[in-house]
Homo-oligomer: 209 residues x 2
DNA sequence: GTCATCATGTAAGCCGTTACATGATTGC
DNA sequence: GCAATCATGTAACGGCTTACATGATGAC
């Protein structure tokens, strides 16, 4: 899931870790507060897998002026100490590779699993990268899940007032979600039919919001 | 969190694991699908900690009466087989201990942490076990969190339509949650003032739903 | 020259999952 | 008698968090 989010954000252009996190909170309020302890390892993993590649921060000299001094000045030593051992400490800007783009698409499409309960919002945020029919499929799958969940657990009565208020409120929320999905489905359908058999009106850029 | 849910459910009377899970889905749709792989270990842990105690299933003969029944013999043998080694295989009915009751209350009250983002619904389900002022505090803390979250991440524009639709829908959901909390707060306030200084009208049993 | 913020990382651990393994009960 | 369901558990593992540790940059 984190991978999906990272690859998705990088689809719009190179970013460094810190910035990725910032956007994660800002744009996808859902995943708010992904900690560095999971973000950086995830980036390292993705790099190792060849899905992303580092392009060293441009604002730092890319080609290090290889200092000939063996001992060197203390200040210099401290700032460069790590270069030989594990890489420099500065912005590491990540960029999607071709493989990464492929990975992203398969992550985005594939998901009959039940975890798209949480990842639906994330997926839909990246819906522009999906084919129109995949978009519709995603929406309808999600809708079915919600309907299912509603019919499943609704005894509601014979709960004490507090518990009941929670259940009822949650149910109302799910109903709203379904209504929202119905809007989105309608929009998608309209768009699809308008592009497949080009009618009179252009109707460009229909907003799903 | 699972502990809280378990202890809360057991506050209404003894239950066995399977039933706890059933109620978890039914009553608290939130935690739906807690797996056995986490439920049973949790119960074991709680038992070890002395928060719950096992009362062997009453529907099974505790003192096994030597039935003359033929088919019963095999079944009895089989069910007894493990008694010496690891305990019998049958319903294990759990019951809250006094310590468990205390643990439950502290779990329910204590939580300045950020995880009550997810646990709020659970907590409120058990609000009847909270003192009136603790109930109000819980509601107001939750409200503050939601308001905070709303003001935090709302650039909203300059996102593509799909991402925007997600963000906007989420924001609307949060607003609805806040409105709901406001209702609950009003109800609590009314109840509190009506019980502290008893006015004319009884106004018994105000439903928060 | 020091403080806040930006920036990257490691280590330990929690909480939960899936997959596996087994036994008991009930209905047909 | 056999299948479905009820019922309990273990093992392996995964993802994310907190806490820790470090370094660079810019503002004042």
């Amino acid at each position: 899931m984190l991978d999906l989010a990272i690859l998705g954000l990088l689809s719009d252009g190179p970013l460094h870790g810190y910035e990725i996190r910032r956007r994660l909170r800002a744009q996808l309020g859902l995943i708010a507060n992904v900690s560095f302890g999971s973000l950086y390892p995830a980036l390292a993993r993705l790099e190792k897998a060849g899905d992303v590649a580092v392009i060293e921060g441009q604002d730092l000299p890319v080609a290090l002026p290889a200092t000939g001094s063996l001992s060197g000045q203390r200040a210099q030593l401290r700032s460069k100490r790590l270069v030989g051992t594990r890489g420099r400490r500065s912005k590491k800007i990540y960029q999607l590779t071709d493989k990464g783009r492929t990975t992203f698409e398969s992550l985005l499409n594939a998901a009959p699993s039940n975890d798209d309960q949480r990842t639906f919002g994330l997926r839909w945020s990246f819906a522009r990268f999906l084919a129109p029919n995949a978009r519709l499929a995603l929406l309808e799958r999600r809708r079915a899940q919600l309907v299912q969940g509603l019919s499943d657990g609704v005894p509601s009565d014979e709960l004490d007032p507090y518990a009941k208020s929670v259940v009822d409120h949650a149910a109302k929320g799910v109903e709203r979600d379904i209504a929202w999905l119905d809007e989105l489905i309608a929009i998608e359908r309209a768009q699809q039919s308008s592009t497949t058999n080009p009618p009179a009106s252009p109707a460009a850029e229909v907003s799903p919001g």
